[in-house]
Chain length 344, copies 2
């Protein structure tokens, strides 16, 4: 049986348009509508039958599509999703889209075909509205914000507040030349963190200094080297995430730049690794387990027909102070700082 | 339609017995055979039909079951498997068994039901023969060794040689009181590494010192502390894997024990992280990409009916020298060691 995506391809329209024709949720150009209906007839697509079959033959499978399993943030998130899914009687299928929209679509198609009961996704699509509208099963957007128009279910941390907290902490620690290594701005998570950084810079009368950086080790190493060339007087770095912060620490150590005495570093995510690094990383803690658990619980509730009035869940972040930053007042007293660090 | 595992449960026999009854590959007690055949008739199981349906309606899906996505070794392996699977036209479903044999069985059941074309698995089952025999689609065992009896397809690194290389390196670096933190011995990977360590100790006239340790961060932290209490004169640690080595480095740093001057550390795997750690980790490199690529290629070949004469592929390991060990001859000359470290 054809999927909505296949019909869209054959009719040369977006999946969202097919969805609109099927559901009558918005006006569609009559010629386009006729073309879509023709393809639907030709392919034998029967949405009601699919819906019936889905409700009858629940596969007890939830699909989870993440951009990359190379980032521990997503594997830790997947672990939390799996725990809650299993607790509710669902198996979890994990798919790695490798930041590739084509792979992402292939996996969504696959999950539809295998009658997955629901999908949890951190999409790499810039324009995710069509994706959401075309999905015939409950879908929860993870970590990133869907547009107001789709009003899709979503669970994410307060990235804006995280950007603020990190920048304010660096300011309190005495930094005045703070560089933000911002993740890809097409992702709302990165864009919101950047906005928080910029707002605090403006409030504090600091000039924003930005370096674009992907969310991975390799680009982190490269961009840290560029950062040190472009901003040789940098005294604080706000890394795109903990993985990038690890690269920053590596490059600074190789160049024998003392952390935190010359440059202070703050990460983002609080993956397990950040406490095992040497020096242990000061970072913005996302409630990873809570995010994953909540996403799985919402999908399971929707599958089981339970009401979910709240569409967007934005969970609070926290500042976790470890060894890559220190408060200005402690700077004069090395021993006090050390004693305080050992506890963290 | 019932799976072999369900039939086994209902007939109170092992999946392997059901497989033997179906295939006539070995003698089965007549009463048992009758009971199995009765269940097969009752459940309407038709193995030939399943086989036909599999060959006709290939799902183009390969399932990959790993013990834990929390260990980067397995996510890096899964990435390689996915790349090769996609290149060959298959999608990859990743399942995390969480070292739980019950979850592992649930995921195998699920993959059978969804007509997966093949399964790649690092099983947590001690007795994996039944698992392999009951699998109706091509299966490749990853990282661990199946028994000679099943003669299953497998791809793994030379763990024995790895154990030897690591121990010989520590001996060459001047260590005489080397402790091995060995992984769970039920896994052939851990058992083989331990055997390599023991053999070199015997050859060198060293007393083997062993601490049992799970393959994860948390147990690594705990067992390193115990190790330092039990063997206060330790001068070399062979960690169960890189993740455990990270814990070792963390505990030694917290106790201000200099690495490598007082204690030298060697890991196992060469995950990407091992070069980003500070100090960068000396480790035994597994050819992770080659292992994953080969496993996916074998499954794809088997699905497509191509001959695979070689059942067990054992790939070579290599010693990767970084900053947590240093050769005895360099010890007298700190500057030479430093210069050499910067290059690595």
């Amino acid at each position: 049986m054809a999927t909505i995506r296949e019909i869209a391809r054959q009719a040369h329209v977006s999946p969202a348009t097919v969805s609109r024709v099927l559901n009558g949720t918005a006006a569609v150009d009559p010629q386009t509508e006729a073309r879509v209906l023709k393809v639907i007839r030709e392919t034998g697509y029967r949405p009601n039958e699919v819906a019936r079959s889905l409700s009858k033959r629940s596969s007890r499978i939830i699909g989870c599509i993440v951009p990359t399993i190379a980032n521990p943030f997503f594997t830790e998130l997947a672990r939390a999703i799996e725990d809650e899914s299993f607790r509710r009687g669902y198996k979890l299928i994990l798919c790695n889209s490798d930041e590739d929209p084509a792979k992402e679509e292939a996996y969504i198609d696959m999950l539809e075909r295998m009658n997955a009961d629901g999908i949890i996704i951190t999409t790499t699509h810039e324009e995710m509205d069509a994706l959401i509208q075309a999905c015939p099963v409950p879908m929860v957007i993870l970590d990133r914000a869907p547009s107001k128009e789709t009003n899709a279910y979503s669970v994410r941390a307060d990235h804006y507040q995280g950007g603020r907290l990190a920048t304010e902490h660096l300011v309190q620690c005495g930094c005045r030349r703070i560089v933000m290594m911002c993740g890809p701005k097409k992702y709302t998570s990165a864009a919101k963190r950047l906005q928080g950084y910029r707002d605090v810079c403006r409030e504090q009368g600091l000039e924003p200094r930005e370096v674009a950086c992907d969310f991975d080790f390799a680009d982190g190493l490269l961009k840290t080297q560029q950062l040190l060339e472009h901003f040789p007087d940098v005294d604080g770095i706000l890394a795109a995430n903990d993985v990038v912060a690890l690269s920053v620490v590596k490059v600074l150590a190789a160049q024998k730049i003392p952390i935190p005495d010359q440059i202070q570093v703050v990460g983002f995510d609080n993956i397990y690794l950040s406490q095992l690094m040497t020096p242990a990383l000061t970072t913005i803690g996302q409630p990873i387990t809570a995010i994953g658990t909540m996403a799985a619980a919402i999908v399971a509730d929707l599958v089981e027909g339970k009401d979910q009035p709240l569409k967007a869940r934005i969970l609070p972040v926290e500042l976790v102070i470890r060894e890559t930053s220190h408060l200005q007042s402690n700077r004069a007293n090395g021993k006090a700082v050390d004693a305080w660090r050992m506890k963290s």
